[in-house]
């Protein structure tokens, strides 16, 4: 599994040097350098936000909020690895805040969508329909389990990095990931009218 440090090192050496330079320049108030920094981390933030929030407009709002917060906290960023870990943590928290602001509207809507499942088993073979079921099942998970599953199974972070990003222990993360996997599997089976 990929750790945050490995994620940063996955870039070519030249990019890494530029990354450090962009961070240093952005810290000194250079706006174009901050834009370069955003380009380096926009996938991390927007995709994580999209996986957690479930829709693009919300994910874009969250990303905007996260990058503005990053700009205000640039002085605290000691390294690129620190930036990545910080961004995961703040993105998860921003998505949680958004979900709390929205209240139960989303849950009721999702419950309706899942209840309308039980589609033709032949349709279960289509990738699009299965993906839609998975998307809905992710959104039905409790927020901490969803965050743990997204960071561990979709972002590919190590359990240690997930624990750091979520401010939890590794044992808690393992428990959350395990429960989330079982629930997602159960959601998908119910959606397609099958029982294990």
């Amino acid at each position: 599994m990929r750790s945050l440090a490995l994620a940063a090192m996955a870039e070519p050496a030249d990019n890494l040097r530029e990354r450090s330079g962009a961070l240093a320049a952005a810290c000194s108030g250079d706006l174009p350098a901050f834009e370069r920094l955003m380009r380096q981390y926009e996938r991390l933030v927007l995709v994580t936000a999209l996986r957690l929030s479930g829709n693009l407009p919300d994910a874009q709002d969250v990303s905007q909020e996260v990058f503005l917060k990053l700009y205000r906290n640039l002085g605290k960023m000691t390294s690129d690895e620190a930036v990545a870990g910080w961004l995961y943590r703040v993105t998860v928290n921003a998505c949680h805040d958004l979900r709390r602001r929205r209240g139960h509207e989303d849950s009721l809507e999702l419950a309706g969508q899942l209840a309308s499942g039980g589609v033709d088993p032949h349709q279960a073979l289509t990738g699009g329909e299965r993906a839609r079921a998975l998307e809905l099942s992710l959104r039905m998970l409790p927020e901490k389990e969803r965050a743990a599953l997204v960071l561990r199974d979709l972002e590919g972070l190590s359990t240690e990095d997930v624990a750091r990003a979520l401010g939890s222990s590794e044992a808690t993360v393992r428990s959350q990931v395990s429960k989330a996997r079982v629930k997602v599997k159960g959601f998908v089976e119910r959606y397609f009218g099958r029982r294990s």
Partner: protein, 171 residues
């Protein structure tokens, strides 16, 4: 065998989260339990589909939109400071110009210097003591020595402008 107690460990095993002794225990159980084998297989399928369903990234324009919004917000926030800096620069320049324009007026004009020429007091002649008592008449004679005519009192006012001098002459 109660497989519910294995569910958590199999779910971790399916995602590659178990190593060493824990993984060996689960593998041993899977070798004996077809239900748990099916459970693990379904879990792996679900995870694989979940990952492939999220493999697609948003369009490049979606990233650009976020970047543009953030940059616009940062530039908008920077504007009041720039405007304030411009206004204060103008204010400082105006204050400096005003100070330079009013500088002579701010200095208190030099008070006119009073230059008075007072004539010396007239000298009084010494009265010579009587040589002898002359009881008949006591006469004191006072003479103003040389009794010069008094010089007029002249007061000279020196203004701040060296070319303007005011004289006041009193006789």
């Amino acid at each position: 065998m109660n497989c519910a107690e294995w569910e958590t460990r199999v779910a971790l095993y399916a995602g590659g989260d178990l190593t060493g002794g824990e993984a060996a225990d689960v593998e041993r159980h899977l070798g004996e339990c077809s239900a748990c084998q099916a459970f693990r297989s379904d879990l792996r399928d679900t995870l694989a589909v979940l990952q492939s369903a999220h493999a697609d990234l948003p369009a490049p324009g979606d990233f650009t939109a976020v970047r543009s919004r953030v940059m616009a917000e940062l530039q908008h926030r920077a504007l009041p400071w720039r405007r304030l800096a411009w206004i204060s620069g103008v204010a400082v320049a105006a204050a400096a110009a005003l100070l330079v324009a009013l500088w002579p007026a701010r200095v208190a004009p030099e008070a006119p210097r009073l230059l008075a020429s007072i004539p010396p007091a007239p000298q009084v002649a010494k009265v010579s003591p009587p040589a002898a008592v002359r009881p008949v008449v006591r006469r004191v004679v006072t003479h103003l020595a040389s009794a010069p005519r008094r010089a007029p009192l002249t007061i000279k006012w020196q203004t701040g402008d060296p070319n303007i001098v005011i004289y006041w002459i009193a006789d």
